[in-house]
Symmetry: C2
Subunit: 132 residues, 2 copies
């Protein structure tokens, strides 16, 4: 069986893909892959996702240069999630300029829980979450 046929694609023909820095272990981002994007990822050795917002193939780093070189690709027990262990070019995975997309920490301290940005954009002094 073709390795692509082993995947339990969702109704939109996509599967969630988690990108993890192979060196640091940091979880960088979660994006989506189509059958074609995964095949291109395997063929090129660089992460290619499916952009749901733009409805097109998204070669990670095609504009920013922050591409992700594939170290290994893993599939989970239910065959409906993919894990990419990658080398992150430039050390920046997030479109905001941060090294990872998961920069909002749930602060459940005093009072109501709230999301607090823990990762300032390099070169910036701000720590507030953008766009909120």
């Amino acid at each position: 069986m073709d390795y692509l046929d082993a995947i339990a694609w969702n109704a939109d023909g996509l599967v969630p893909a988690v990108a993890q820095d192979a060196a640091s272990g940091e979880v960088l981002m979660l994006a989506w892959m189509s059958r074609e994007s995964l095949a291109l990822t395997v063929a090129t050795g660089e992460a290619v996702y499916w952009s749901r917002s733009r409805a097109k193939l998204w070669r990670k780093g095609e504009t920013s240069g922050h591409l992700q070189r594939i170290v290994e690709i893993r599939l989970d027990c239910d065959a409906d999630s993919v894990l990419l262990r990658v080398e992150q070019a430039g050390g920046i995975a997030c479109h905001t300029g941060r090294r990872r997309c998961f920069f909002n920490l749930l602060d459940a301290g005093s009072g109501s829980p709230r999301w607090r940005c823990t990762d300032p954009v390099p070169g910036s002094t701000g720590t507030d979450r953008e766009g909120s």
Copy 2:
């Protein structure tokens, strides 16, 4: 704004949640959370997911004992993916008895790429992928 309202829930009212071992950095699994399951996770300090196959709340470890104690909860830049850093009880996250669900490695060596199980079930000598 309530922290739950900050999340871009999908059309089914769910968000993908990646669970990562806080100590080892290993990515353990990807599951889904509903608004209620995330609120319960925050309230109890233990991971509660939404089981899409059973269409009900899924208190991780409720039958196996392999619960996940929450170390931190993170939200990504687009507010549509959650990262849980956890302490995995028993060191076993996968229902197959493995420590993680991502035990299938894409082996792109000679010939056609294929998924190869890298993590034997503890106590077993088999290394073939189950159910395929």
